[in-house]
């Protein structure tokens, strides 16, 4: 009981410190992780095995970590090293692509293809945002898209805010479609043993339907604001040349090949047996070898803070798991829903969405995974259905406010830095209806398809 109390206190303390940003968030999770190891596992439980299980280092030295010939296995206790390896690999690859000018070129090329017309740019950028976010972290996607959007807005004289809001929403939606799109999905996939294909055929389907609906929604609410405020006719020479975005032609071609190689490896990983940890390490190694001259620069640019944040977070959640706190919560959800599975799904979707709208959705998802595992056993429910509900709830709920997901923070920040600050009111007024719409679609699809 004492261990449980301390595990909960440390967890709550971590959440409060993350929200208040008293310390950088990786310092917070690492500090709380260390407290969990010392106070919960050491002083309260006197359990070396709990420490070892939570640190989970031994998992890296198993064949299953790199290659799984049969069905994927579940491993939600402790540090999810597969997630860490995969995220590092993607960071290295994305950095290589960014250095070569890939993202800016892609944005400019698409704007060029639609002849720099505002509404077609608006629609194609939403689709591009969703597709890119399926494979690349949404922060990178939004960083480049928002910057190019502001640049085009100044050139074509339109308000970039509607376009940035739509891009943010679509990046989060695209991220929900795949296992590697959004951090909660990576954690859900690696912890519960789901493949890229499992996500695409389940959350991907929901995201696809939702994308069509939100494009229509955003067009209806924004098309008037998107009209150009300038009658000035521009010639082709006035527009930026997409080719100029490429800083290194050889690097550009190599990064394109690596990116498509990574997509193929991810799409086929259920068939090849290669795990996401292997794919992460492999694409990182290939990127570094291919960009040998810039290897040190790329390694230095890895966001170590995010990696450390994940490690600390997994330890704190491991504390809750080892002490049985999450089982208590799962039993409570089971009781509240009275064994009604549809109600349970609705609770998971909406509670996850509301929580993710205000707090970081990564710790929330990491905490919920052991809960849904326990629920699936105690309530005799399909774990995958609960996982899809959790994925859509956390990924989409995060869109609702400017602080719900990383893409929102980065997108609104890029806009503000260029002189287009977006208030909470303005953001929520436009994005909350889209969030509710997608959550309803998710619930309907899950109910119709699985019950």
């Amino acid at each position: 009981m004492t261990a449980q109390i301390f595990a909960v206190l440390i967890f709550l303390g971590m959440f409060i410190l993350i929200i208040t940003e008293k310390f950088e968030r990786h310092i917070t999770t690492l500090g709380c992780g260390l407290l969990t190891l010392i106070v919960v596992f050491g002083i309260c439980m006197h359990s070396v095995s709990a420490v070892m299980q939570t640190l989970n280092i031994q998992s890296i030295f198993t064949v299953d970590f790199w290659y799984q010939a049969g069905e994927s296995t579940e491993s939600s206790i402790g540090i999810n090293w597969a997630t860490i390896f995969f995220i590092v690999g993607m960071m290295v690859m994305v950095e290589g692509m960014a250095m070569a000018g890939f993202f800016r070129w892609l944005c400019m090329r698409i704007a060029n293809l639609v002849h720099y017309k505002t509404v077609p740019i608006f629609i194609t950028f939403m689709i591009m945002s969703a597709i890119l976010a399926m494979f690349i972290d949404s922060i990178t996607v939004i960083l480049f898209l928002a910057a190019v959007t502001v640049e085009l807005a100044q050139l074509l004289k339109f308000n970039p805010v509607p376009m940035i809001l739509s891009e943010i929403f679509c990046a989060n939606l695209g991220g929900s479609a795949t296992m590697c799109g959004d951090p909660p999905n990576i954690i859900i996939g690696t912890s519960l043993g789901y493949s890229f294909g499992d996500f695409i055929f389940n959350t991907g389907l929901i995201a696809g339907i939702s994308l069509i609906v939100v494009i229509v929604y955003f067009y209806v609410i924004f098309h008037k604001e998107l009209s150009s405020q300038s009658d000035e006719k521009k010639s082709v020479a006035d527009y930026p040349d997409p080719k100029k975005a490429i800083t290194n032609k050889k690097g550009f071609i190599i990064s394109c090949i690596i990116f498509f190689g990574a997509v193929i490896l991810l799409v086929t990983h259920a068939y090849t047996g290669l795990t996401v940890a292997f794919i992460g390490l492999f694409i990182a190694a290939v990127t570094l070898l291919a960009s040998f001259k810039n290897a040190v620069k790329i390694i230095k640019s890895i966001d170590y803070q995010t990696i450390l944040f994940f490690i600390g977070l997994f330890v704190v959640v491991g504390g809750l798991e080892e002490t049985g706190v999450l089982e208590v919560i799962a039993t409570f959800i089971g009781k509240v829903s009275g064994g009604n599975i549809k109600l349970m799904i609705a609770i998971i979707i909406w509670v996850s969405a509301i929580a993710s709208a205000f707090v970081d959705n990564i710790p929330f998802a990491a905490t919920m995974i052991p809960i849904i595992k326990s629920l699936s056993v105690t309530q005799n429910t399909s774990l995958s259905v609960l996982a899809w509900a959790l994925s859509m709830g956390t990924d989409i709920g995060g869109s609702a406010t400017p602080i719900g997901a990383s893409a929102n923070v980065v997108g609104t920040s890029v806009a503000a830095r260029e002189g287009y600050p977006i208030s909470w009111g303005e953001y929520c007024k436009k994005v909350v209806p889209a969030t509710v719409l997608v959550l309803i679609i998710s619930m309907i699809v899950i109910f119709v398809r699985y019950f």
Binding site: T20, E21, S406, V409, V410, P421
Partner: protein, 198 residues
Amino acid sequence: MSKQLIITVSREFGSGGHVIAEHIAEKFELPLYDHNLLREITDEKNISLDYIKRYDELPKNPWFSRTIRGYSNSPEENIANMQFEYLKKKADQGDSFVVVGRCAESILKNYDGLISFFVLADMEAKVKRIEKIHGISQSQAEALIKRNDKERKAYHNYYCTVKWGDSRNYDISINSSKLGISHTAEMLEQYIKARIEE
């Protein structure tokens, strides 16, 4: 004293710090940057002032803000940083100017030409002045002063390591209600002249 002259005037609400800054700018024929700083930025960036002026010199709301990889969603923080960058750019170009507030004494502390003032005043004097300027009651004036000073303090202390109004942070901290606003301004003018002649 270097040729560049950067004068920063931090102030309590109602202390007359802004009037003093105007006096100094006029006497030394220097541009004055206050809320008009945003106009300079918007003109340069070709964006609308209406969009950003409501966030000028306001503290960040920690409960509604998040920072990821150095990117913050807070409009207040982004607008503040935009102003800090602009001031640094002007200082780097070797320009001389007078700045009111905006953490300038901390942001520009590494420039040799910096002279920093903090203007405070007795509450009674501040209330009388605000009552007259805004045509409001004593209690309303008091509330307005408290609210504005609270916001200025929170704004300053978020971006700077030294505290707002801490005399160690400024060349001179002066109470304008002792000599009156115009005499205080003249006294500070004399100080600046002495520093220039150094």
